[in-house]
């Protein structure tokens, strides 16, 4: 796992320093080594975290004759099989790295190479003969890749901070992105939080000639719209076990030890159990525990660790631990977040690194693939309700939603019904499943300043809708909801703010067996009834895990991973100095995104410990993270970039040029 960066377009002889400045902001992603390539037409850079072929995998790397150069971030898990295949076709390899496999596969298949890769990747290939830059990103969006065009040049890095450090690019938060994040919880690709900075969307490649984008293509999609397989639940569980076991086996490939996260829930327990089964020994396991018992799952985590006989490590987070690292988390996330949940995971990856490990397997992706989220149940109940408006089962079904939310459970049947029936029963609406959530979230915009509100006129929901695949409106509600989660929040929040960025902030690589594309494709083709049986979520996964996990883990009520939000900043009524400063009337007025009067009332409510609902907590965290983003990336960026250059140690670069 690494950081990559590059520039193409115009005369690049002058760009060596710019490229070094970009790399200086990516040293956390690659503390082990770095390298540069610059032939005057393309400049590629790389910072390396060595995991496969520790001695031979230096980058940028080329083919035999130096006509194809690559800078690559990620892992190709099937590189051994691909190397065998390519060797038989006459390709000569000089390293044992997965990087070199991509180079030769590109020589063989051109842009089609991406369809053969099983992995998590973002890379750039400079094809000298074609004078073309080819950039690509993995299917699910595990690894980030951003780009921007400015003054005839095309820039790309793994993190946005590198763009700002390397080029004379304007730094401005995009009001449309705030509109999207304060509705959908993430921006709609290719939009990022910053104006003029784009992300390459998951499962896409792009070609760049003469500094300008010449073509872009989506090369893969989740087959949720296909006809489901006609198989029994037993066959489905057996099939899933085989593919998931193989995915885990491949993802254990590394020349360093691999650990595992344990949340106490089903998915990461399965991942850790499969590692134990494959390797014959329990891995090092890592968990987040909370001092606030409402969030703590350490009882289940300890039980699972004992069951597998792992060497278990734990961080126990207090409110002040969370508020203490929150600014750093926003620095790495590079976008506003509506929850503090990324912060404990940042603290956890620090523990992984301190333990001496740099790779962990986690359970991310299972909820999306196998139908685990409560929003899927919600959609199913609302779909049933619309079909059978007179059913007496309705109140009973609604009460099964959100069993962990006391504020929801404490309501009367009449209120639950009234909330979900508020003009939201149009099943033919393609975004039916998510409308109540988005409507609730978009109420946060009441805190926007008049200026910000005036800038936003078109709806984020409609922008998201325009990205849905052909025929989407005809799918069942559960399949549509799965797609929205997999294409939207998974890359836009779970794998970025709560995944790659908080892991790589401490130079740790995450791997995700449930996100092996074969697992995702297989689950997408399963009959919906095997995923959600009645209202039993992830039914096929539980069936598969029988005998692998203790009954208490297998049968426990699903609890989503959450962390204390406003309490983390206002425990005891006193907030850390940076919170007081950034939420003060002066800072709010100065930055201009939020209405100081409204935020003042919210802060007052948080300070007296009365912010109990989702909306207040999301508002507080969203406002604070936006203020932090502005503070670090707009107002105070130069100082941070200068410190990054000083600390990066790039004074004796390993330069390759041809």
């Amino acid at each position: 796992m690494c950081g990559i960066a590059g520039i193409t377009g115009g005369d690049l002889a002058v760009c060596q320093e710019a490229l070094k400045s970009m790399l200086s902001m990516l040293r956390h992603r690659g503390p082990d080594d770095f390298g540069l390539y610059n032939d005057g037409r393309a400049a590629l850079g790389h910072t390396r975290l060595s995991i496969i072929d520790l001695a031979g995998g230096r980058q940028p790397m080329s083919n035999e004759d130096g006509s194809v150069w690559i800078t690559f971030n990620g892992e190709i898990f099937n590189y051994i099989e691909l190397k065998d295949e390519l060797s038989r076709k006459g390709h000569r390899f000089s390293t044992n790295s997965d990087t070199e496999v991509i180079v030769h596969l590109y020589e063989e298949l051109g842009d089609g190479c991406v369809t053969r890769l099983n992995g998590q990747f973002a890379f750039a290939i400079w094809d000298k003969n074609r004078s073309e830059l080819f950039i690509a990103r993995d299917r699910l969006g595990i690894r980030p890749l951003f780009y921007s065009s400015h003054a005839g040049r095309f820039y790309f890095p793994t993190e946005i901070k590198a763009l700002f450090a390397g080029g004379p690019l304007p730094r401005e938060i995009d009001p449309a992105a705030l509109d999207e994040i304060f509705t959908l919880w993430c921006s709609v690709p290719p939009r990022t939080a910053f104006k003029g900075i784009n992300e390459l969307p998951p499962a896409h490649w792009m070609k760049i000639r003469d500094g300008a984008v010449s073509s872009v293509k989506r090369y893969w999609d989740v087959p949720l719209g296909e006809e489901p397989l006609d198989i029994s639940i037993e066959e489905a569980a057996d099939g899933l076990f085989d593919i998931l076991s193989d995915a885990t086996r491949l993802q254990l490939r590394a020349d360093v030890p691999v650990g595992a996260y344990l949340s106490g829930g089903l998915d990461s327990s399965i991942t850790a159990a499969l590692i134990t089964k494959i390797t014959g020994a329990g891995p090092h396991t890592f968990s987040v525990a909370f001092e606030d018992g409402a969030y703590d799952e350490s009882g289940f985590q300890h039980e699972m660790a004992r069951h597998l006989g792992t060497e278990h490590h734990e961080v126990r987070c207090s409110y002040s631990d969370i508020s203490g690292v929150f600014p750093e988390v926003v620095w790495y996330a590079e976008k506003p977040v509506l929850r503090t949940a990324p912060a404990p995971l940042f603290i956890l990856s620090r523990l992984v690194r301190e333990t001496g490990l740099k790779v962990v397997l986690t359970g991310e992706g299972a909820d999306e693939a196998a139908g685990g989220y409560d929003i899927f149940k919600e959609a199913k109940i609302r779909e049933f309700w619309a079909r059978e408006p007179e059913s007496r089962l309705r109140p009973l079904l609604l009460k099964k939603l959100y069993p962990y939310l006391s504020a929801f459970q404490g309501q009367s049947d009449a209120y639950r019904e009234a909330f979900f029936n508020g003009g939201l029963s149009d099943v033919s609406d393609p975004l039916f499943s998510h409308r109540p959530r988005w409507q609730t979230t978009s109420r946060l915009k009441a805190f926007f300043s008049k200026d910000l509100l005036a800038e936003n006129t078109s709806g984020p929901e409609e922008r998201l809708k325009s990205l849905m695949p052909r025929g989407f409106g005809g799918w069942r509600a559960l399949a549509r909801a799965q797609y929205i989660e997999t294409a939207g929040l998974l890359p836009g929040y779970i794998l970025s703010s709560q995944g790659d960025r908080v892991l790589m902030g401490n130079s740790v690589e995450g791997r995700y067996p449930f996100l092996d594309h074969r697992v995702v494709e297989y689950c997408a083709r399963l009959p919906l009834r095997h995923k959600m049986r009645g209202l039993d979520e992830k039914h096929v996964l539980k069936r598969m895990a029988r005998g692998m996990l203790p009954a208490s883990i297998l049968k426990r009520t699903k609890q989503p991973y959450l962390a204390p939000d406003s309490k983390s900043f206002f425990a005891g009524g006193k907030a850390p100095d940076y919170v007081e400063e950034l939420l003060s009337e002066g800072s709010l007025k100065d930055y201009g995104y939020f209405d100081p009067g409204s935020v003042g009332l919210l802060v007052k409510k948080c300070r007296r410990g009365a912010a109990s609902g989702f909306r207040d907590n999301m508002a507080l965290v969203g406002i604070l993270s936006t203020q932090l983003l502005h503070n670090m990336f707009i107002a105070g960026f130069e100082g941070r970039a200068a410190r990054g250059r000083d600390a990066a140690g790039l004074r004796a670069p390993a330069t390759a040029a041809s």
Binding site: A407, Q411, Y415
Partner: protein, 86 residues
């Protein structure tokens, strides 16, 4: 009574101390002022402010879903409490 309810709604759900155009008959649910988790907060405030218990059977939009409905409900409950204690 109406002013007190409006002040609470403005300061805790609308976050607008200056007061804005809130119709006393507007449904809190339909206008999104109160979401799926906000109702208990409202109930807690009623209980703390007016000193009576809100019974589970009274947790219905007919009693709680607008400024006017709340005023009528609170009025009825406080008068009943006065009659009992008096």
């Amino acid at each position: 009574m109406h002013d007190k309810i409006r002040e609470f709604i403005f300061e805790n759900f609308l976050f607008n101390a200056e007061g804005s155009a809130l119709d006393n008959d507007a449904s809190f649910l339909e206008t999104g002022i109160i979401d799926s988790t906000g109702m208990l907060e409202l109930v807690n405030w009623i209980q703390e402010t007016y000193g009576f218990e809100v019974d589970d059977t009274e947790l219905v939009p007919e009693n709680l879903d607008s400024v006017n409905r709340l005023a009528i409900y609170i009025d009825r409950k406080t008068q009943a409490a006065t009659r009992v204690s008096g």
